[in-house]
Amino acid sequence: MVRRILSRLAGLAPLLFVISLLVFFIAQAGPADPVKDVLSQRMSAEQIEQIRAAYGLDRPAWEQYLTWLKDIVTDGGGLSFSARSPVSGIVFPAFVNTLILGAAATVLSVVLGVAIGFVSGIRHGRAADRVVMLLVQIGSNLPVYWFGLVVIWLTAVRWKWLPPGGMHDLRGDGGFGDLLLHLIAPAVAASLVSMLIIARFVRAAVIESEQSDYVRTYRSQGFGRAAILGKHIGRNILSPIVNTTGLTVGSVITGVVFVETIFSWPGIGTVLLNAIGGSDYPVIQSGILLVAATFVVVNLITDVLLDLLDPRLRHGGA
């Protein structure tokens, strides 16, 4: 077991290396000279050269890569081109905000997705199932951006239940309850796609297990449906649920970036979109690298969880 986890950890290194190379490549392949783009045009060629040298843009690519990597690891990515302040001060707080929203969206998509899928699965073919599946089909074909708008319009404008955006009430105390209240609507919007993927998956898994031989055997021996559902089917589809959740983390991240702008959530998506507008490559690179690394780590956690859930591995085997 421990050896398996260690080997998975070792597998991360080449992956992170490739991702970091690709992210480094973004600035190399960018459209124009970032310094010329951002700085005033009144400067002479020599002054521009000096600034390029100060940012290390005059050295060979591999050297820039190593310096860049060192900067990322030691102080979070050097200086921002446009704000001329440390990148870490811009990227990290936004990243934490995104993490909060992403975690809430993941929890929502698992809880609601499993609930919807389970109900639909055990009512397979009945009216409730048909209605749920129709809604699932419509929901999976709605643009997330528009769905987010409708959520704001309903919850904040029409019914006035929830705040229309932001993370905290500016006049409030900024406490945990306040954060939760601001979190509900964007989390629902961001979780739409992954929630429906999980719901479809759980429904199919429940239907399949209900028709399997072992469930028929239990049923013929007089076990109640609730007991079979809870103890046997539930346990058997637990690890596929974890697997599917891991696979939908990418969708959650994408969903979060889509809704951040709508809900004025001060997260990494907003920062990255602004940075792209201003060709601020240090910010773009650090932001993308941070999110990609998070994705890789979450993937690792999913794999380890799956190993832990697998009874064949639990008892010292493999």
Binding site: L15, L22, V23, I26, A29, G30, P31, Q137, I138, S140, N141, L142, P143, V144, Y145, W146, L149, V150, I152, W153, A156, V157, P164, G246, L247, T248, V249, G250, S251, I253, T254, V257, F258, T261, I262, G269, L272, L273, A275, I276, S279, Y281, I284, I288, V291, A292, F295, N299
Partner: protein, 287 residues
Amino acid sequence: MSTDTHGAAPPRLRRSFPARFVRNREAFLGLVVLVVVIGMSALAPWLAPQDPNLGDARNVLAPVGAPGHLLGTDDQGRDVLSRVIHGGRGALVVAIASVTVAVGIGTALGLLAAFAGRRTSGLLMRVVDLMFAFPVILVALSLAAIIQPGAWVLIGTVVFAAVPYVTRIVFAEARIEREKDYVEAARSLGASEAAIVRTEVLPNLISSVVIYGTSLVGVNIVFTASLSALGLGIQPPDADWGRMISEGAKVLVTGHPGVASFPAVAILLVALAFNWLGDGLRDVLNP
């Protein structure tokens, strides 16, 4: 459908492909919607009642059903109906073209992985698995940083997102085909591995790939709409469904939901139609 009145005729087990297709209500409905929408987009310059980019400052936010503006006008006084008719052109071309490219690449990779040695196959599928779950938005943001927001960002992102799906499907099916007798027979007759893949296995996978590609187009029209809404995709002044959603966002919250919602409904309808067509084709082609 059939006109045989001879009671003695044996029941036909399989109808012809067009007959089965028309009998499949889902597929037929999907096809009809798509023909209408694609025809409308192609003929947009002649069909749209107004210039989609022509604003009228004296007639902003006209309600639905206003004279001359069936779906009202937006906050710049542009005719929403004309913009909806024009707004699908970019999105449809982008989604269909990039899914076609992705299907080509994915089929090639899937076949390669299925017929290559264990090590190549393992490495390839490991990469594909990672791409499969990767947050695609990062690809879109990176591309936007390199080549500036526009249709090419959408194309690159959709290709990246769709290739792993197609590769997995083709890989799984090709592995099954590989073990079948006809492949063994071809091999024993001296056919090379490449010839077996090209002339024996590939034709058997075409229908699955077409079915899958059809559904992928729908998924990606929905996805690229959100990218365009964020400003990463098709740029103004071109009318675009996704872009219209974010432009209508400002006025949606002030009680003019139509400006953002008509394009959203158009996207929903087209995406559903592609899904219906895909599902229907599956029932017809792979019963």
